[in-house]
């Protein structure tokens, strides 16, 4: 957690890895963590502002993994382009959760009041349940979950943390690759689509 947003969990590290958007890259990263015994608390992946690059935000349990080794081992993967440890940075860390809460005509208002306190949105509503969508740091989400528990949580989905350094500093990569190489990198290992492949078996 950012120190601005409250207490920092000392044994948690937020590591951002910019990786080549290639098949298998998630397996390479996950396999590395498993093999070295580093515990992943959450891992999120998505595209970046640059084509061909994805961003992974990995929350690592620092007890299991000296963060320096995590960074260095990640760097050894050819498909990992840049690794940043955000733990000592001023950062914005956010997570989104969808919470399906049991409700009825009598208590629906109470739940909506609670949602308002947490600035959670109601994104679906039915006679005996509603879905709250909340964005924030983990403490806030945990707080809302705790408040909803007495009513009965039917289902819970959380995204895991995404994070970004505050201020103009970035953790992105600005390195253009020649078009001829980028084209092949984009197709390496990917299934051929839209073409009827010959069927052959030996």
């Amino acid at each position: 957690m950012s120190s601005r947003n409250g207490r920092r969990r000392v044994n948690q590290h937020t590591v951002v890895a910019i990786v080549e958007d290639k098949p298998g890259v998630l397996m390479r990263v996950a396999s590395l963590f498993r093999r070295r015994g580093f515990n992943i608390e959450s891992l999120t992946v998505g595209p970046t502002e640059a084509q061909g690059l994805s961003r992974m935000t990995i929350v690592v349990d620092g007890e299991s993994a000296p963060v320096e080794q995590v960074e260095k081992q990640l760097y050894k993967l050819i498909d990992v382009v840049k690794v940043s440890d955000l733990s000592n940075e001023e950062m914005v860390a956010r997570e989104l959760a969808l919470i399906k809460v049991r409700c009825n005509n009598l208590n629906r208002h109470e739940i909506l009041d609670i949602a308002q306190v947490f600035r959670a949105d109601v994104v679906d509503i039915a006679t005996n349940s509603l879905i709250l969508q909340v964005v924030g740091d983990e403490d806030k989400i945990n707080g809302l979950i705790k408040m909803c528990e007495p009513y009965g949580i039917r289902e819970l989905a959380r995204t895991g943390r995404v994070a970004m350094v505050r201020g103009p500093k970035t953790t992105t990569v600005h390195e253009e690759v020649p078009e001829s190489i980028a084209r092949i990198h984009a197709s390496q290992g990917r299934r051929v689509e839209g073409v009827e492949l010959p069927f052959s078996s030996d």
């Binding site: 990786v19 298998g24 020649p178 197709s187 290992g189 030996d202």
Partner: protein, 562 residues
Amino acid sequence: MARLSGAEILLECLQREGVEVIFGYPGGVVLPLYDALPRYNIRHILVRHEQGAAHMADGYARASGRMGVCLATSGPGATNLVTGIATAFMDSTPVLAITGNVARTLLGRDGFQEADITGITMPITKHNYLVMRASDLALTVREAVHICTTGRPGPVLIDIPKDVFQEEAEFEWPEEVRLRGYKPTYEGHAGMIRRAAQLINEAKRPIIIAGHGVIWGDASRELIELAEKAQIPVITTFLGIGAFPEDHPLSYGWLGMHGMYYANMAADNADVVIGVGMRFDDRAMGRFKDFNPTAKIIHIDIDPAEIGKNFATAVPIVGHVKNVLPRLTELVKEATHEEWIAWIDRVREEHPSLEIRETRRLIPQYVVRTLYEETNGDATIVTGVGQHQMWAGQHYFYKRPRQLISSGGLGTMGFELPGAIGAQIARPDAEVWAICGDGGFQMTMQELAVVVDEQLPIKIAIFNNGYLGMVRQWQQLFYNRNFMAVAMTQPDFLKIAEAYGIPGIRVETKAEVRDAIRTARQHRGPFLIDFMIDQEENVWPMVPAGAALKETIEAPPEELVR
């Protein structure tokens, strides 16, 4: 630009990369490749098991310093490579593994002989590729070779579906490799090199521990210059044997579980430890927390992830040893370290570790030492894993890099014979001896057929004690002599050799050793000697498992001396 099939593009690229030999085994999905192979100037060695192909490529690489290439078909062919790839990965050797896979339409549908070999080998390769288009092949091969041979070398696998071999594409040789995520550091940090020099200049008891990286970084000469200028004693790791000439006055053998007593004591009593191209592995360093806690460690390695992995480092230097060492030597002051060297010399006099006992029985140490004498210390020795490996490391004295070839990290029994084949093919004029355990030899002895096919003059010495000797030694010392599953009824190795057309001799007494070695050397082709060594001889010195280097036991306890 020319229009070529995937198979042709692959072979064209390999040829341009300087590949001269492929160790392979054909099968359904690689047939298009085999069909094109005769049109290229690449020699194909037909192995008898794919594991042999991977070890041969590895032995070829270790003997020559060049990339070794192995080839297998899909499914079982590919999975049979796994042990060999893992062996190369643990010891950081450049092996390129090429596998076929089922046609693209069948991938993921559990086709006949389909195995997800890229998934399987992810943790044991430096990188791997599944190629889905013939048009991607050329750049993929270039990248693979680049990754395999630069930085910290390591195995790379390329998996190619059958119909990609057949698909046609425009071939263009990619002039450039651009990998955003792979930029090895070659230049050491100047400030760190200065700090290292300062630490060395202030040291009273410095020691250099040289590893495999010195051999792969081709920096033996640079290491000698540093050691001589500042008179720093040098020990090596097991895989570093040969990185520093063992007949050099500053050489103090190698350290570790079966290293020399004085080498272990020197490492444990040094005030500055300079690790060069090595990774502070557990077999070398003993119990981590009790290894020389006051020593300041300078660690020079090309792989940043090795620094600080097992030990806190005072001065980390990430770079290529061949660049870093001369710059360090320049800043290091001349010194003598007389007291320190005298101290180690005294330990060595009191605990010589490598004396051959006078015995009536045929002991393996005597065999290795006689081999050393008869070959003038010039042979290339390839070993398997176990007691014979340790004796071969201890009692032969190595003068140059790449003279001892052995699976150190993974400890792969059965490496000896295929490893020796690869080494002999890489260096046809070298005198290559495969020192084999009687257990490990049987794991890969089918490759004797390759020795005969290729008419390789390899000399095979089996150290036959009828036991899995190292396991038996542990059962004797740590499991109260409960010898379980270690005694082996061995076949008649001479008859096996004979079946392949290889002559041999059985040696049962010390008196026969020298003549047998001479006979083998005089024979122009391959030759096998079955040395019936003492059954319960053990390897000493020894750091018991989980003990610290300072707890090295130099010689067997009284009750074990016979």
